[in-house]
Amino acid sequence: MRVAIVLRAVCLMLWVSMAGLVQAQGNLEINTPAIAALQGSMQQRHAQLGPLYASGAVGIANDGTISLRDANSVPLAQRAQVNSLVAAENADRAALYREIARANGHPEWEGDVRRTFAQRWIDRAQPGWWVQGAGGWVQK
């Protein structure tokens, strides 16, 4: 029994250390023409999204996406367009995570890339923007 516990602990430590190694090898700053195209598209869209972040209509979710969290500050007739803008941003973000994982030669890292970026977006959110924490939406 004791041997089994020790073995299990060793396996766990090995797995944890290998996972760390995988993380360490990933290059989130990697650049490819496709990544540059996605970043350009997102940067261009940011001019429209900026005021929506500031008003709280759109928040930064903890799964690497953005979300139409409080549409009350958006005129009714424009809510569908804002939703379309949010969906387009999320489509680009999903493609970006896939592309970074591919560029690192590990498409299976997409989930890790997404999680890392999710935290990065939240950390970099400007004061006053809404971000999704474990307990729900909070204003930075």
């Binding site: 023409p33 496709a34 990544i35 195209a37 996605l38 350009g40 598209s41 209509a57 139409l68 969290r69 409080d70 549409a71 009350n72 500050s73 958006v74 009714l76 007739a77 809510r79 569908a80 367009q81 939703n83 379309s84 969906a87 387009a88 999320n90 489509a91 680009d92 999903a94 493609a95 896939r98 592309e99 591919r102 498409p107």
Partner: protein
């Protein structure tokens, strides 16, 4: 004259007549409750049941209980005739709702000539009814009377109790915001606007008719994802009590305003009519019909459990939906919200959907010349006619007659699509799409929908397509030859299509092999393609003639490694071109030499033995070689030899002369802007102008 009296009573309200069925509607219960409460007052002050003048009376009831309502701590104090009256209810329960501290004060209370009359009264129920003025008159013998409520916001409630037992309730300018206090589920939506309406309850409470309208209505949930503004609704419902349930028939028309029901933005113009049966436990929708722009008909029937709300059975059907109208409004926001402005629909669709026990069990869609097109990338499919059945518990067969399609300028001809659909998977045994004079054949395609999207695989074969037709169709200079492919390893995953195998193109009397094809993010801004290209024995004479680049005889081989196209433009590759091995005539025309010079820009290319150039139309050469490694928009050039890279003055040989007259071409620009190079090439081909050779 009776002395002032004080009575304490606990009244358990007996179901002397069947009141259980009254619970079905509040209107009906209140219709009977109001005279009963008033009768209690009378009974209290006149134990004999006959109305007699009293100086002052006080009645305290501990409770009045009924299955539908209960009153606690009832206090009734009536002064002398023409004096004041005060009724206070410490706690009122009606159904599941409970209110506290209801107060009714009449500054002029009259008991005379068999009638109770209250004028200049005030009614107050904290949190529900702010003080409103009240006036009432009731004749207990005839069981008739009226009640009038007026608020300081121009709201009015008029109740008329007819001697025959009928009741008319008229509501004027009722604030929906204030009414929400009565309806917790409505309060969550923060309603606003005004309601005018009338309810007629027939004698015996067996029939009911409600008409009314909402003006300037609005609502919004806390997120703003369910919201409406400037709403105008018109309601007309008739109902009859049968066997303990209400059989209803009514219409609801949406005549003004707009709503956002995430992700749909809807504007007024819809009208709903419904026939069914309503009981406290169930709603049976025998037929509901929704009139909506873009649909010939939209109908539903079903059974709903109301406690708690649950769909027991529901069938929806829509007929002749005009996809050009309903597609952008309902389909795109649901299936492709990121491309709302880029998707175009056409044709018609009819469909049926069945829900059992809260789950979708069957969908049937019939397409009639339906079409779908995207602006970017420019692709389209249609007209499509056929049926798409789906069952939750069994495999179904989809059969579609596809009239054609296009990808950019390339037109696809008509074909039949047969597929098997089961739960979240689709399989196609064989799909043969005519393309010009050849075919694109997809075999053994199996796709499955998982949480991230569609994934699966199969095989692709391209049966030979004429390059003459293909290049003409896509707007390229006409080339001869054929294109074919055997790609047995088609793999599809979210954002990725990979093709193992080779695409072969016989062109310019040689051939091209394209392998390791990979298409990524095909519908996004970063759509890109990876491939390896190998070309052998391309006839330079045909090639240069096709692109009007002068004339070069001979053959070349080319290798393009790591080719990457982003939005169909090359962004990365490592390419090299060399004369093919073997003995064959090798000549280059003066114009071709000049064009090579023009491509390199001023000083980029030096033509040795320049002095002879003007005297001959063509020159001999022994070998051609050029390579370009494209990265970050810059092409790193070299030729047959690399030259001395450390010496900027040292060039690299592009053409090595041979024969008489011979000619050598040396390149000097090792770093060339790719876009600039393409522009020059375009200009050279278009103008075919002769640059000045010094």
């Amino acid at each position: 004259m009776f002395p002032s009296s004080a009575i304490v009573v606990t009244a358990i309200y007996p179901p002397a007549y069947s009141l259980a069925d009254l619970a079905a509607t509040s209107a009906r219960v209140w219709a009977r409750a109001l005279p009963l409460v008033l009768l209690l007052i009378l009974v209290a002050i006149t134990p004999s049941g006959s109305l007699t003048a009293a100086t002052s009376v006080r009645l305290d009831l501990a409770s009045v209980d009924h299955p539908s309502f209960s009153l606690h701590r009832v206090s009734i104090a009536i002064g002398a005739e023409g004096s004041t009256a005060r009724i206070a209810l410490g706690r009122v329960r009606f159904g599941e709702r409970v209110w506290s501290d209801l107060e009714l004060e009449c500054s002029q209370f009259v008991l005379a000539e068999g009638r109770i009359r209250c004028d200049s009264g005030r009614l107050r129920l904290p949190g529900v009814i702010e003080p409103v003025t009240i006036a009432l008159s009731f004749d207990p013998d005839k069981k008739s009377g009226w009640l009038r409520l007026r608020s300081d916001q121009d709201e009015s409630v008029d109740v008329s109790l007819r001697a025959d037992g009928g009741v008319v309730l008229t509501l004027g300018q009722i604030s929906l915001a204030r009414s929400a206090a009565w309806l917790p589920w409505l309060a969550e939506l923060g309603p606003g606007g005004r309601f005018d309406g009338r309810m007629d309850l027939a004698p015996g409470a067996g029939a009911l008719r409600v008409t009314g309208q909402i003006r300037d209505g609005r609502f919004s949930d806390p997120t703003g994802l369910k919201a409406a503004e400037e709403l105008g609704l018109e309601l007309d419902i008739g109902a009859r009590l049968t066997g303990g349930a209400w059989r209803f028939d009514g219409t609801l028309s949406w005549v003004a305003g707009a709503a956002y029901l995430h992700p749909l933005y809807l504007e007024s113009g819809a009208s709903l009519s419904a026939v069914g049966v309503f009981s406290p436990k169930h709603l049976i929708l025998e037929r509901a019909s929704l009139s909506l722009d873009g649909f010939r008909s939209l109908e539903a029937n079903g059974v709903f459990d109301l406690d708690p709300l649950h769909i027991e059975r529901l069938a929806l059907s829509l007929a002749d939906a005009d996809l050009a109208v309903v597609g952008p409004r309902f389909l795109t926001p649901l299936i492709a919200p990121e491309r709302v402005s880029a998707v175009r629909f056409g044709g018609r669709m009819s469909a049926g959907l069945q829900i059992v026990d809260g789950s979708i069990v069957a969908i049937d869609a019939a397409l009639d010349h339906a079409s779908l097109a995207l602006d970017d990338p420019d692709v389209g499919l249609g007209p499509v006619t056929g049926v798409l059945p789906w069952r939750s518990d069994t495999e179904t067969r989809v059969s579609l007659d596809v009239g054609g399609g296009h990808w950019k300028k390339l037109i696809l001809n008509g074909f039949m699509l047969e597929a098997n659909v089961e739960d979240r998977s689709v399989s196609i045994e064989s799909l043969s799409i005519p393309v010009l004079d050849g075919r694109l054949v997809v075999t053994d395609l199996a796709m499955q929908r998982n949480e991230t999207g569609w994934a699966g695989g199969g095989g692709v074969v391209v049966e030979p397509i004429s390059m003459e037709l293909l290049t003409t169709a896509v707007g390229l200079p006409q080339m001869s030859g054929r294109l074919s492919a055997a790609l047995p390893g088609l793999r599809i995953s979210p954002g990725e299509v990979s093709l193992d195998g080779a695409l072969a193109i016989s062109v310019f009397d040689g051939y091209l092999w394209v392998t390791r094809l990979q298409l990524l993010e095909a519908f996004g801004v970063a759509a890109h393609v990876f491939a390896e290209v190998e070309a052998r024995n391309l006839d330079l004479g045909m090639l240069t003639k096709t692109f009007a680049f002068g004339s070069v005889t001979g053959f070349i081989d080319a290798d393009i490694h790591g080719l990457e196209l982003v939005r169909w433009k090359p962004v990365r590759f490592d390419a090299s071109v060399r004369s093919s091995p073997g003995r064959y005539p090798k000549r280059i025309s003066q114009r071709a030499v000049q064009n090579i010079g023009a491509l390199g820009g001023a000083g980029a290319v030096a033509v040795l033995q320049r002095g002879f150039l003007g005297f001959f139309d063509s020159f001999g050469y022994s070998e051609i070689g050029l390579s370009c490694r494209l990265e970050v928009g810059v092409c790193r050039m070299s030729g047959l030899d690399t030259g001395d890279k450390s010496d900027p003055a040292s060039g690299f040989r592009i053409i090595r002369g041979g024969g008489i007259p011979a000619l050598n071409v040396i390149g000097y620009n090792r770093l060339v802007d790719w876009d600039e190079l393409l522009d020059r090439l375009q200009r050279v081909i278009e103008s075919n102008a002769s640059p000045v050779i010094e």
